[in-house]
Structures are given as C-alpha cells and as structure tokens.
Amino acid sequence: MFRTEMMDINMGPQHPSTHGVLRLKLILDGEIVTDTDVLIGYLHRGVEKLCESKNYHMIEPYTDRLDYVAAMYENLGYVETVEKLMGVTVPERAEYIRVITAELQRIASHLVWLGTHALDIGAMTVFFYCFREREILLDLFEAFCGARLTYNAYRIGGLPWDLPPGWTDRVRHFVKIFPGRQQEYDTLLTKNRIWLGRTKGVGILKAEDAIDFGVSGPCLRAAGISYDIRKAHPYSVYNRFQFDIPTGENCDTYDRYLVRMEEMRQSLRIVQQALDGLPGGEIMGKVPKRIKPPVGEVYHTVEGPRGELGFYIVSQGDDKPYRMRFRSPSFVNLQALPHMVKGSLVADVVAVIGTLDIVLGDVDR
C-alpha cells in the first residue's frame, strides 16, 4: 500500500549556496543523501586552449580569471613557471613584494571562504564582518596594481611597478588590527554550540581518502597531513620566513575551519617578517621584451589558499606555449565531495561545499 522512493533533486547551477554555477544531482532518501553526482562545466571558457594562441605576456590576465578569489596566486604560479622555464632570476625586492601580496591574498581568500561558509550555515553577520576586512585588503591591492579582483599584478621576471608611497605603512596597520578582528569571528563561531553541531563530524575526509582523491591544501592538512608546498618545496623566498603549518586531527569541517583560521594568523606572521626584511633595489630582472622560452616542458606548483596550484607548460621555442595545463585545486578537491556527503543530510551538503572552498572559475577553467 505504501511505498517509498528515492527523490533525485537538482541543486544548482542556480542555487544560493553552490558558490557559483556548480550543479549537484542529489539522490535523497527523505533528507539523507544516498548519492551525489557533481556536474561541472557551466563556467568552462577553454582558457587552456586559448593560451595556445596568446604570447606569454598575454596569458597572465587569463590566469586572473581562473581562481578569481585568489588571483594573485594564479599570477604568481604562472610567472614563476615561465621564469623557471627560462631560468630567469627575479630581484629580491620583487620576490618579497610578491610574498607580501600573495599572503595578503591568502587572508582575503580565506575571508571570502569564512564569510560564505558561515552564511551557508546561517550565520549572517560573520559574512559582513569578513567583507569589512577584505575591503581593506582589496583597497591595498588596488593601490598596488590598480585592480581589486583580477590583478595581473606580476610580470615575468619581476613586477611592473614598485610599491606606491605609504603602502607598507597601510599594510603594517592592517597587520596590527587584523588579530583583533579575527577575535570577533572567533567569538561568533568557534565556541558557538550551533556552529559546533553543524561542523563537528560533518564531511569527514580521512587522510588516506584525501591522498587517494589528490586533495591538497587546508582540506588535506585538516586530515593531519602536514603538507604545504611553501615548506615541502619552497618557492620564491619562502625558506627565509618562520611560520607553522597548522594541521587538524578529526578530518571534519570544524577542523578545516580551525586550520584555515590558523593559516590566516600564520600568513600575517609571514607578511610581518617580509615587511621587516623588505630589501631595496631593482624590481625587474633581465628579461627580453619578446619572451621566447627554450624548447622544453616545465611543471611548477605554488601553495594557493585552496591547495596545490600547478602550471604545466610545453614550449617549442615559440613566443606562444605549445600546450598549457592548469592543475586547479578546486577541481581536484571537488572530487571528494560525493564521498564526503554520502549518508549525511541535505544541510551538510551545503556545509561541505563551503568547507571545500571551491571557486567555479578554477573548477571549470
């Protein structure tokens, strides 16, 4: 007389908490998710193919559009890859400025993550607090390179411009006020019973599963694996700074929250040290006007806010790459989503999407 059936429900591509145009097909048994199908490609622009017809200078603005929440890292990864291929040495001042802007970008990116993650779970106020601080950072970036989101901030071999006057003081001011502001997020969330209930034990991703899926970044570190490219394979001048790699134990959403919160503090430490040690001098290395890397291929990674950000370039000695390939952390991390939400409730799906911190521009490229 009675029968129950599974309901398949379509979440996205237009849905308030899929962070863009992610589409999930959920198979629900009541409110319990029994299966998930991740459907992507709604933001596919074919950037990798486009790059094959652009010269090396023209590619950099395209990298901005990949992970538009942390475009500094896309720029950084790309220019370092080409520099590695060409064997260019970058002046020290440029490296320091790159580190400062990149670490500030990590904070800005984590602020977007925290705000939207909390908003998805229903804590509305945190979102506005986070964007208040992100606003300061975006103003700093605007003063540095003229753009607030898609920076195109670095050049192959160095930087296009030196720092504007007074910029370092503004950064120092931010470094001073930010810990207090972070305290405010802490008060609203870290010990909040509802927040604990919504994040503890939700979306568990064990270390071995994380490695199998190729997950990197905070999601991997929350599973207890202390792998950070800044320490494991230091690039730029990261080996000169003191900082810790926070790790979690319980592999759940709450630990990923704590790891990212701590990463913001560590980034602040790096910025402080880089500001103190900021050398003078040139900002542009010796680079020819027309960039023609030698024949060969190169793979280079940087530690983005979302994880391992890889660039693979095949050069045939032309001024255009023969093949360009991005290893985007969002895309790889997203694979773990069906595994993480299996057997949980619909509300947890939203929490898990938030904790993976995906950017669809990065997923679809």
């Binding site: 308030p16 908490s17 229903g122 509305m124 506005f128 609203l188 927040w195 209930g197 509300a347 939203v350």
Partner: protein
Amino acid sequence: MSDALIRNFIIPLTQVLVILGVASGAVAYMTLVERKILAFMQLRLSPRRVGPHGLLQPIADGIKLLLKEDITPDKADRILFTLAPIITVIPAFTALAVIPFSGGGTFQIFGYQVTPFIADVNVGLIFLLAISSLGIYGIMLGGWASNSKYPMLGALRSAAQMVSYEVPFGFSIIGVMMLSGTASMVGIVEAQKAAHVWYFLPQIFGLFVFFVSGVAETNRLPFDLPEAEAELVAGFHTEYTGMKFALYMLAEYTSMIVVASIVTTLFFGGWLRPFPNVEALGFLNFGLDRIHPVLPGYFWFLLKTFLVLFVYLWLRGTFPRYRYDQLMRLGWYWMIPLSILNVIVTGGVVLLLRR
C-alpha cells in the same frame, strides 16, 4: 440605528478593523525595523532611499509585491496553491483577537463602553494554542501544492518542526496557568498585578522554553529550516510570487508579533508598569513612578513587545542555523522534558503554598 446594533455589531467591527490596521502597519514596519537593526549589527546601511531614512520602504515593498506577476506553476494544484497562503495568514491575524493591548477598564466613546482588546475569552490561552497550530496547514499545503521538490522538502521539515515544538509550547504555559489560576489573557495580567511579581521570575524556565519554541513555531533563525535559503532555496514558498508570497511574509511577521505579545502578556505583565508593580525591581525605580501615570498601558505593552521582538532579531544576527536532526533532538530531548519538569515543580510549589 438601534442601540443593540451598535453595541453588538458596529463597535466590535470597529475594534477589529482598528486592530487589524494597526497590526498590518506594525508588520510592515517590523520588516523595516528588522532591516535597520540587522544593518546596525552588521555594520552596513539599511534601506535609506525611499523617504527619510527609508521610512517609506515598507510601502514601496508592498506596492512592488502587489504589482509583481502572480505566477502559478503549470503542475501546481491551482486551488490549494491559492488557498494555502490564505490559510496561513488567517490564523496569524485571528490570534490577535484575544491579546489584551491595554487594561484598566474601558474607554468611553460617544457614550459607549469600548474595551482596548477585541475579546476577553475565558479560554484565551487555549484558543491561542489552537489557532497558532493551524498555520502549519497553510505551509504544508503550500509546499505540497507547489508540486516541486524544494518546497516539498521545506513543507515536510516545517510539519515535523512545528508538531514537535507545539508540545513544549503548550506545556510551558501550563505553569503560568497554574500560578494565575485562569486561562484568560486579561485574567493572567490581573493575577500578575495582584501577585506583585511578573511571571518571568517564578517561571524563568517556562519563559525560556516558551520563547525558544515560539521562535521555532514562527520559523525564525536559528530554527528557520523550512525556508533555509542556503539549502532549500526558499523552502515552502519557493514557487510563490507577488501577493501570495507577501501573504506568507505577512503571516510570518504577524506570528512573530503575536508570539512576542504572548510573551509580554504571560511573563512580563502585559500592560502593567514596571514600578511600583514589581517589588523585586523596586531598586531600579529612580523617581520613575512620578511620570508613570502619564504613560498609558498600551505604551508599556508595545515597549515590552518591541523588546521581545528585538531579541528575535538579535538571535538572527548572532546564530547559525540548526540542522534538521539537531533541531528535533533539541525539541524532544531538552525542551519537552524541561517543560514537563517545569510543570511538575510549579505544580508542587503552588500546592505547598496553598496549604
């Protein structure tokens, strides 16, 4: 016009119209107040364009909602789809009938005695419980009649939520009824006046359970699962537009005001003045009792109701949202036992004192 006609028809009708009008206006401005307070908490500007400080925003919103295209989805059950918001909004307004906005006798208007409330029913509280439960039907029917998946999930959630929280909601007022010995709303306030103590002191657990269940009943954060916008898009009213959507909103805000008024009446002495009525708070009285007589009862009632509503908004600004299973666990494991315990303890104390 005969005297009986005026007494039995014209006066009640006028009362109803006045209270309906005031309530709808309060609801409209409640939305603005909510946005203002939330904006204040969240360091941003609230609506400021329409009128000075955005004071005409609710009217603009109303006009916008009226002019929106009224869409009924193809696959929806047309009759129920239209009926559902009406079913939700009627009980919400009906509940206002027994709320005593002010006491202290009657007004004299053209030689007729007029009470400052519509009706003083001797089972006022029971009536409120009965009426407030009816709102669920509208939400469930709306979710079901939309014939869409997200609304159905939202409707199922709200059904489960409201049924579970109805129980502690009912239990928590039993303590008040035992203390006052009546179920009439006016009678309860009179009893608080006679006892020289407002019931939030002896009934602090009752107040807690009642308020939390009230928030859950009205689907507000942190219990707004039926319409959790991050998960279910908009929950049971996803498919609703224009005036039908406005009716749901109207019902939600009216229920909020009703719950706040009930809290005021049951636990904070309704229209009574704080001093010298409550002896325990006497130390706070810095000559305030001299200006008291000027302020009418409904001023105090509105002030207290607004403070309760403020707590509602405060909750919204502070807390994340509960998960469905956690909400149920909170209801069945904590709220219901606590409310039953409250009934037992209050009953015991009342019995002992009477000996």
